[in-house]
């Protein structure tokens, strides 16, 4: 399955150099007010959208950076936020 990902540091690289890190859930929900429900949302709950999804990726076999990209899960292509070609 082919996938090219644009790393902010290294540029466009083969997707197999990267580690998928889940749907982008925003900031780490630390703090005293953290409920079991909110922690569930953060670690387990996904939209599973068939379409453009904001995702975390890590350039594991490269520079090691964590960053967010948009990817269309139907075509397996990195896209711009609104779905256009990146």
């Amino acid at each position: 399955m082919s996938l090219l990902i644009h790393c902010p540091i290294c540029g466009r690289r083969n997707g197999y150099e990267f580690r998928y890190g889940g749907e982008d859930k925003g900031a780490y929900p630390a703090g005293r007010s953290l409920t079991p429900e909110a922690w569930y949302e953060y670690v387990h709950a996904n939209t599973c959208s068939a379409g453009v999804v904001a995702e975390w990726w890590c350039h594991r076999h490269g520079c090691g950076l964590w960053f967010t990209i948009f990817r269309d899960t139907r075509t397996n292509r990195q896209v711009l936020e609104h779905g256009g070609r990146s």
Partner: protein, 407 residues
Amino acid sequence: MFGAKHILPKGNPPLESAYDAVLIGGGLHNLATAWFLAKEHNMNRVAVLEKNYIGYGGAGRNTAIVRANQRTQKNIPLYKEALDLWPVLTRELDFNLMFYNCGNLNLLHSEAAVKAARTNIATAKFLGVESHLLDAAETAKRVPALNLSQKITHPIHGAMYHPPGGIVRHDAVVWGLAKGAAEKGVHIHQQTEALGIATKNGRVTGVKTPAGTIYTPRVLVSAGGYTAGLLYHMLKIKMPISVLTIQAMVTQPLKPLLDHVVSSGAYHVYANQTLKGEIATGAHMDPWPNYTTQTTAGYIKHQAEALVELMPCLAGVKFMRSWAGLADMTPDMAPIMDGNDPVEGVYMNCGWGYFGFKSCSATGRYMARFLATGKCPDRLKPFALARFKNHRLMGETAALVNYTPDN
């Protein structure tokens, strides 16, 4: 397949404006649920909505393996009931489901794997499921084609042997259940996509389709790998699921040489010989979620290498076809069956990953009971979505399966 042109018993039904229950997805679980709703609960004002054709999803793409030697006490009884139902359904549906209980051999390649298998075998036996530990010589006696050499990447130490499992012809299950349900009056609507679920005051009122809204007090979303996406899209319910493409392939037909389902975690491969003689094999999931259902050359190479190491006589045999489908994976490798939470009248049955064929018979029966009575049957209670919110995951896998930064 019953394509658009092939007519179900009683013909293609008219889309009524109201039903007692609407089931979204024309896969095995909903067809089984529809059959049991009609048969055991006298409910036949039931519609199954299928976007493509019945059997389009995992129902027609799986490798047909059935077994009941899972890991936890919550799972095994459900799978055992499902296994016991194949001969019963064959009779009741008057349709040959081609259940071939050749037995499953789960190959063990290390002392640690043997130790883990001992626990699984003890659990299975405790719950009345036949399961044995075989040493390497006993394993090779069952399948002489296996390579007992110590020089392969992962030498075979033995196997977990589960005699009552095997394979069932998956298409026959689709056809048999659809025929049975349609004969009892269930309306199977192919090429009919569910677009949305209408609710009012926390209760379901209907299902939106291109032909208008169907009114109903009960909706079951059980559309295989599509379920989690549909639940979010239609009701903003987020599921603890990752949807991945999973691949399988078959070789050219061969004379009988493999009369067990053989699987190996270390080689990341499983194989069985179909009744047509093909070696059906698979196991690879993509490393990131996607709905492409595309196959990859790299994986075909991996399969060939692994199979030839395990069974050298397969060297030179050609793959005829490869294909892929969706696996909706939960972090604890157990499914999610729930209902009336958070929306009254909305039920869900999903998270079956790459193991939802073997369970469809028993699950359909319990989901039918759930829909008919509104009360969750005891057998299904451990599978509620709330287990994730309460952080009480099931131990079906020794380590958490998670497509997140943790691993």
